[in-house]
Symmetry: C2
Subunit: 436 residues, 2 copies
């Protein structure tokens, strides 16, 4: 096989075979094909597409570029959740302990925040001592002990994805559904899971702004998981406004603990219960999602989920002091409030801008090397459809970056569209599809 | 400016600005942008196109990546010819001395053969001692002395083209009209010429097989030359059969000398006279192409063109002995003849296969590093429309490669389609357009 011929084939709109995709990906991973050839291939694939079969083959070759974790020695079903990313989405922190408390294993390999979205690892690392950089044998032993573990990418998992993602990032070939699918699924399939709950976000704070694009991504992810004989429940959920009210790493841990303590944060609680219920159902501990949701509610009200969270934190080296004493956590130097400058109804929220505002306060990174301030972030109160009076508190910001304050305050005010006309609240859960 | 943003812009089908193209090409040439970004850009450009303005800007930035030769100290007009390449096309060897003898300067920077086509430099180097690797000051002094000079690419000329061509070659982005245009024109414009005659080939032995593709390339080349205020005469000529009868490096020098001696090799003479006439016309030594053709004929019949060729060879270090004693040139070990195995009319000739056959005999290279045997090649007699009897001599092959003989004989026989129905001879000159 000759890389130039394969690039030409994709350039001219033909389907690549499984062997051809394998050849390209595995040889690239071993440094035998130069990146300038793979980047040309990626652009040809970006523009001419990869069909469902090619996407599954791409996923498979990326998956087999590394290790698939063998979790056979861990009793019970292993179910994970993947979200395509949004603003204020801290459901992983809530559902992992709920689902584990309900007797379903949650082996979760997560990512870091990049761009406007936060990352589960960054949030967990706001807890002093919490280790996400854990090797696979310890990963397995923690999972065995407490039924959940949350770690970062290891070098054994889908190394081809790491290389290809880095190349896509610098060649404008990121926003391709087949490539996004292969990147997500190659890592998730490596976890050794039995089933997966997918939460595909749609709206101003999602990578896919339109419902059609989100549905196409949901479809591609689902088909690929099915091609690997995994059970899947696929949600498409609203990301036109931040999920919950807290954005920023410690702030999101804080809000997660509050939910686990029983606080009713409407949208965040609703989605966390749904995703937990779906996972419990896929893990054969409930006959349906609604029954799973009932179990999830019990895990919260009984305190079992919160205890499970503390157990996970301890096993992963974290200090539970601040989790038990939320208000003792170190404070940002700057804490400012933003008030509504006119009355009306919240009609639209640009969640992307809110995510970026949190990054600018120190809560995220625009480049992989950027340092994160775990205390930085935003409490954001408006929800679409809410009535607001002039002077109402709409947001609070926390930062150590004096220079960012004025800019972020303006950005946050500008992110909300307030109209005279009453606006309808958004529907959080747009669709659910189960494939068992 | 950010390369990723510019790749994205082209990926999404937008026009790049002159500044953006300059930025990409010049920084790439200086090693400041990695090749994997340029290859993604090339693929996006291949698939989404570069319009006429972008093509001119690309040409300009590649041109200005190097030196433009200043020929102001050389008296008279400087006119070059460029052919898009074919099989048996040795017109440069014939027209350069004709045009120089007629008082128009011919500063010609040529290429080497690659794939199925020959290269002027390889042909000239079949003459013992002939140097094509000449620096720019000597280039100028030879041009001043005798009105013509034929050299190879120097490192000062369009270095961006060299880098980008090498990258296109390994990323399946060669066959793009805008990129071909910029590659050709950046080098031709660097010669410091006043005008250019373009010979765009069409047919089985050309890079562009269809007339429409050839016309599109002719149009793109012409527009780009016009954007730089150059006078242009653009020919589209037939390449459905080899030009003349001799294919291979020394064999083509031989046939060129024969034409310069006054031999009537129909198609080769016709095209050489036309292109010479057009150059003489562009060089203001004739009021029209037909008048230029008359002058060209005189240059041959008077012996001035042949003398000029010998003068050029001497000035470029070549030994004229074999040019004066054509039959003394060393012979190939193997000389075999191929005869027609059935009677009929020559209906079609696969000139690409004939070009490849010559390469396989040692007359060309498939990789840039391959060694060439100047003696190797083919004499090929059939022309479309010709009547053939069984047993007629159709070709002779010359090679030192014993192993290639049987295969090449089969290939050559298979390259000719003989039918019972009478076939029309092809029209050599399909179109001529003058822009003065």
């Amino acid at each position: 096989m000759n890389p130039v011929e394969l690039i030409r084939k994709k350039r001219d709109g033909f389907q690549l075979t499984e062997e051809e995709i394998n050849y390209l990906i595995l040889r690239y991973t071993r440094g035998k094909i130069p990146s300038y050839q793979i980047s040309a291939l990626l652009m040809a694939g970006f523009l001419n597409g990869f069909d469902a079969k090619e996407t599954a083959w791409l996923t498979r070759s990326m998956l087999y570029s590394g290790k698939i974790i063998n979790l056979k020695s861990v009793k019970g079903k292993k179910i994970d959740k993947h979200s395509t990313g949004g603003v204020g989405d801290k459901t992983s922190l809530i559902l992992a302990p709920i689902v584990a408390a309900a007797g379903v294993n949650v082996p979760m390999i997560s990512g870091r925040g990049l761009g406007h979205t936060g990352g589960t690892l960054d949030k967990l690392e706001a807890i002093p001592g919490f280790l996400t950089n854990i090797d696979l044998s310890k990963y397995k032993s923690i999972l065995k002990k407490c039924g959940a573990v949350l770690i970062g990418q290891t070098k054994e998992i889908a190394p081809a994805d790491k290389l290809i993602y880095a190349l896509r990032d610098v060649t404008a070939t990121v926003e391709s559904i087949p490539f996004i699918t292969a990147s997500i699924m190659s890592k998730k399939l490596a976890e050794g899971i039995d089933g997966l709950v997918l939460d595909v976000k749609t709206g101003t704070g999602a990578f896919m702004k339109s419902y059609d694009d989100s549905a196409a991504l949901a479809n591609s992810l689902t088909n690929t998981a099915r091609a690997f004989n995994k059970k899947v429940i696929t949600y498409i959920t609203d990301m036109n406004q931040p999920l919950g009210n807290y954005i920023g790493n410690w702030l999101e841990v804080y809000e997660s603990i509050k939910v686990l303590q029983g606080e009713k944060v409407d949208d965040l609680l609703e989605l966390s219960l749904h995703l937990s219920g779906a996972m419990i159902h896929l893990g054969n501990k409930a006959k349906s999602i609604p029954q799973g949701i009932e179990i999830a509610k019990e895990m919260i009200s009984s305190g079992k989920a919160l205890n499970k969270f503390l157990e996970i934190v301890k096993l992963q080296g974290g200090d539970t002091y601040y989790l038990k004493n939320l208000d003792k956590y170190p404070k940002s130097k700057i804490h400012e409030k933003i008030f509504a400058d006119k009355p009306g109804y919240v009609n639209k929220i640009d969640s992307f801008e809110i995510g970026i505002a949190s990054v600018e306060l120190g809560g995220g990174r625009l480049e992989m090397e950027d340092k994160i301030d775990p205390k930085a972030g935003i409490i954001f109160y408006p929800k679409i459809g809410m009535q607001i009076k002039k002077g109402d508190l709409i947001a609070e910001i926390f930062t150590n970056k004096t220079g960012a304050v004025d800019h972020v305050k303006k950005k946050l005010s500008a992110s909300i569209t307030i109209t005279n006309k009453k606006a309808e609240p958004v529907k959080l859960i747009k669709s659910v599809n189960t494939y068992k």
